[in-house]
Symmetry: C2
Subunit: 428 residues, 2 copies
C-alpha cells in the first residue's frame, strides 16, 4: 500500500524564528529619523485622491536601490538610478497617475525638476533626492501639480504611523489596499549588549508585476547604521528572494523601483557586511520584503487568492525557478484557481512546457496540500474536500520533479474577470 503523504515544503519567512524578529507598527516611519507624507496634488483625474508621496530623512543617509531591467525604463528610473550610485540620499518623491515613461527627453527634465523642487523645500542637494512614478505610460507628465504639491507634502511630513500610511496610499493605482510592513530586531554589539533596530516600508504594485526585477515602487527604511555596501547587499539579496519571486501577470513595469534608506538613528557601531549584527538586520529587511511581496501577490489586479508555488527536487536552482514561474504565469492554471477547479493537469502542462528536462513518470504533484499525482500517475481525488480547501485565502501548489535537490518558491494570484475589466479600460 503506497503512502500518499503531502510533499514536505520549506517554511515561509524563516527570519522571524532565527533572529527573533517581531512585527511592529509604523510602516516606513517605524525606523527613527524617517518622516513621510501623502497629499493630493491633483495629478489624477479623481478629485481629492492622494497622488503625491514624500519620504524624507532627518539627515542625509545611506541609500541603496534596485530598478527595472525594462529597456523602456521610465524617466524617473533614469534619474534615480544614477543618483543611488552615490549611496547617499535625503528624500524620495513618488507620484501616481502618470508613469512618466516613454516620454523622451522632456520626461527626464520633468523628473529632474521634481527633485529640484523637493531639494529647495528641504534645503538639501538636488542630487540627494530620488524620484519614482507610476501610472499610465506614454503621456507627457506636467510639472504643474508638483509645484504646489511638493511644498504641501513637505509641510505634512511627520513620523507617525498615520503619515506613513498616507504615503503608502498616495502611490496606489489599481492596488485595492495600502501595503505596509514593519518590524523590530535586536542587533548584537561586538562588545556584548545589543541595539534595538527597526525596518519598515511600503510598496505599491498590483499589475505589470513579474519576477527578475524589483517590484513596482517600494520604499524601505531602517534606523540600523548600515554602511552603504551593507545596505546594497542586504537590499539586493532580500529583493532577489522576495519581490523577484512574485508574478502577477508576467508583465514587467517600465518603472520598477525599490530603495532602502538607513538613517543610523538606532545608534551603535556601523554595520558592514562582515559585522556581527549584519545577519540579523539583513533577515529583518528580508522579513519586511517578504511581507510586502506576499501582499503584492494577494492584491494582484482582480485577484481573489494568493497562490504559492513550490517546486522541489529540480536538478538545479535555475530549473526550479523556471518551472515555478511557468506554473505561476500560466493563464490556464490561474483561471482554474479562480474557478475553484482542481484541474492539476494544467500544473503538469505548465511544468512540462518550459524546456526544463525531467521524466514525467517521476513527478509528484500536490494541490492545496492534497497529493493528486504520484510518479506520473493520477490519484483518486475527493472533489468535495478540494472544493472546501479552495475557500482558503492562500492556495498552495507543490510539484516535485524527482531530478535533484533544488527548490524554488514563487507567489502569484489567480486570473479573474476583474483583471480583464481593470485592464480592459484602465487608460481611457
Amino acid at each position: 500500500m503506497k503512502d500518499y503523504r503531502p510533499l514536505e515544503l520549506p517554511t515561509q519567512n524563516h527570519g522571524q524564528r532565527d533572529y527573533g524578529i517581531v512585527s511592529c507598527e509604523g510602516g516606513i516611519c517605524a525606523a527613527k529619523g524617517v518622516r513621510a507624507a501623502g497629499v493630493c496634488a491633483g495629478l489624477r483625474k479623481e478629485p481629492g485622491r492622494l497622488d503625491l508621496s514624500l519620504v524624507a530623512l532627518n539627515e542625509t543617509s545611506v541609500c541603496a536601490g534596485v530598478f527595472t531591467q525594462n529597456r523602456f525604463c521610465a524617466a524617473p528610473v533614469q534619474v534615480s538610478q544614477e543618483r543611488v550610485e552615490n549611496g547617499r540620499a535625503c528624500a524620495i518623491v513618488l507620484n501616481s497617475g502618470n508613469a512618466n515613461a516613454s516620454t523622451g527627453a522632456p520626461g527626464v527634465q520633468v523628473a529632474q525638476q521634481t527633485t529640484a523642487l523637493v531639494a529647495e523645500e528641504l534645503g538639501c542637494a538636488e542630487e540627494e533626492v530620488l524620484v519614482a512614478s507610476t501610472g499610465v505610460i506614454g503621456v507627457p507628465l506636467a510639472l504643474d501639480g508638483f509645484v504646489s504639491g511638493i511644498p504641501q507634502a513637505v509641510r505634512a511630513l511627520d513620523d507617525t504611523p498615520e503619515a506613513a500610511h498616507r504615503a503608502a496610499r498616495a502611490v496606489m493605482t489599481t492596488d485595492t489596499v495600502a501595503k505596509e510592513s514593519s518590524c523590530e530586531v535586536e542587533l548584537p554589539c561586538p562588545n556584548g549588549g545589543s541595539v534595538r533596530a527597526h525596518v519598515g516600508g511600503f510598496v505599491k504594485g498590483s499589475g505589470m508585476i513579474m519576477p527578475n526585477m524589483a517590484t513596482m515602487l517600494c520604499v524601505l527604511s531602517t534606523d540600523a547604521p548600515l554602511t552603504s555596501e551593507a545596505a546594497h547587499d542586504a537590499l539586493l539579496s532580500a529583493v532577489g528572494e522576495t519581490f523577484n519571486k512574485v508574478t502577477v501577470d508576467s508583465d514587467t513595469s517600465t518603472n520598477d523601483t525599490c530603495v532602502l534608506f538607513a538613517t543610523g538613528d538606532a545608534g551603535g557601531d556601523p554595520v558592514g557586511v562582515d559585522s556581527l549584527a549584519y545577519p540579523a538586520i539583513a533577515a529583518a529587511i528580508r522579513w519586511v520584503c517578504e511581507e510586502l511581496a506576499r501582499k503584492i501577490a494577494a492584491d494582484g489586479e482582480g485577484a481573489t487568492k494568493l497562490v504559492t508555488v513550490d517546486v522541489l527536487g529540480a536538478a538545479n536552482d535555475e530549473d526550479a525557478e523556471t518551472v515555478a514561474r511557468s506554473i505561476a504565469n500560466s493563464p490556464l492554471v490561474k483561471t482554474a484557481i479562480f474557478g475553484h477547479d482542481a484541474n492539476w493537469g494544467r500544473v503538469a502542462m505548465a511544468a512540462g512546457k518550459c524546456g526544463v528536462d525531467f521524466d514525467q513518470y517521476n513527478v509528484d504533484i500536490d494541490l492545496l496540500g492534497v497529493p493528486v499525482l504520484r510518479a506520473g500517475l493520477p490519484l483518486p481525488m475527493d472533489e468535495e474536500d478540494l472544493l472546501r480547501r479552495f475557500e482558503e485565502d492562500e492556495i498552495r501548489i507543490a510539484i516535485s520533479l524527482g531530478e535533484g535537490e533544488a527548490n524554488a518558491r514563487v507567489w502569484t494570484c489567480d486570473l479573474t474577470h476583474e483583471y480583464v475589466t481593470i485592464n480592459g479600460d484602465y487608460r481611457t
Copy 2:
C-alpha cells in the same frame, strides 16, 4: 516637418502571389486518395456531440509529423511520434473530450488499442495508424467509446467536403468554429507540362496555444507525390513559419500534433526536396498552414480579435521573435485590445521587458496602422480615429527597434472575460 508614415510591413501569405496558389473546396479531402469521417462515439458529456474523427488514406502513404515539446507529452503523442519515424501511414484517429495525458502506462495502452481497432477495421498494420487526443488532462481514458465508435467512423468514411467538415468538427473542444483550409497548385514537371496538386487540412486549437511547438491537433494531406524527406522538410518549415508563430495564452499543450500525409494520387514523378516542383508544393503547404494558423488565433478562447504583431529592425531573428512573442503574450496588451484602448505604452513595456537590447530612443510604434511613437517620442493621437479602427476584425501592431534588419511576425488574440469564463470552469 517630420514624416509620420506608417511602418512598411511584409505582405501576408506570399505563396499565393509567387506560385499561383488558389483556394479550393474540400478541406482534408481536397487531396485525392483521402477519406474522412467525424462521428459521435459518446466520449463527451454532451449527448450527440461529434467526438471521434478518422482520416484514412486509400493506400499506405508518405507521412510526416511534428509534436509537442512538452515534457508531459500525452500518451497518443508518445505512440504517434514513434510511428511517424517510419515515414508511412494509412490513417489517423483523433478524439476530443479527453487528452489521455498524465495518465501513465495505462494511457499509452489505450492509445495503442485505439489504433489496433482502426487497423483491424481498415485491414492495415497497427503501426501504420496514428492517434491524437484533445481534452482534459489527468483523467483515465476508457476504450469503450472507441470499440463502437471506430467501426461507425470507418463506415462513414467519405471523400466529400461534408465528410471532411465532420472530421474537422469532431476534434473541436472550446473551438467555436471548425477550422479547415484547402488549395490547388500547379506543379511544374521536369520535362515540361505540369500536374495539378491539392493540399488540404483541418486544425483544432483554441486555448493552450503557444509558439515553438506544433499546434494542437492538425491533419494535412496532399496528393502531390512527395518523398518522405520532402514531406518532412515541407511540414517542418511550414509549421515553423505559421503554427509556431501563433500564441493564444503562452501555454503549450501536452498533446500538440501536426501530421501531413502525401498520397501521390495527383500523379507525376516523385517530388524530392531538390525537385523543380518542390518550392511550389512547399508554398502550398505553407499557404494552408498559414490559413489555419490565423484561424486558430482568431478563434482563441474568448477572442474577439485576431492580432498580428510585426517586429521590424531587430538585430537578429531571435531578438525579433522574442520581442514579438513578448508583445503577443502580454496580458496587459491583450486586455487593452479587448477594451479598444489605444494604450500603446503597454506595447513599449512588453518590448522592453524581454531582455532584448535596444535603445528606446530609436523605437517606432504603429497601432492599427497609425504611427503613435517615433524615435521614442509619443505622437499626438486621434482617439476617435483609433476607436473606429478597433472595429476591424484584425488588429495590427508594428514596432521597429532600429537595431538591424531582422523581422518577425506572430499572431495572437485579445484576452477577454470569455477566456476567464471558459477556463474558470472547463473541467468541472
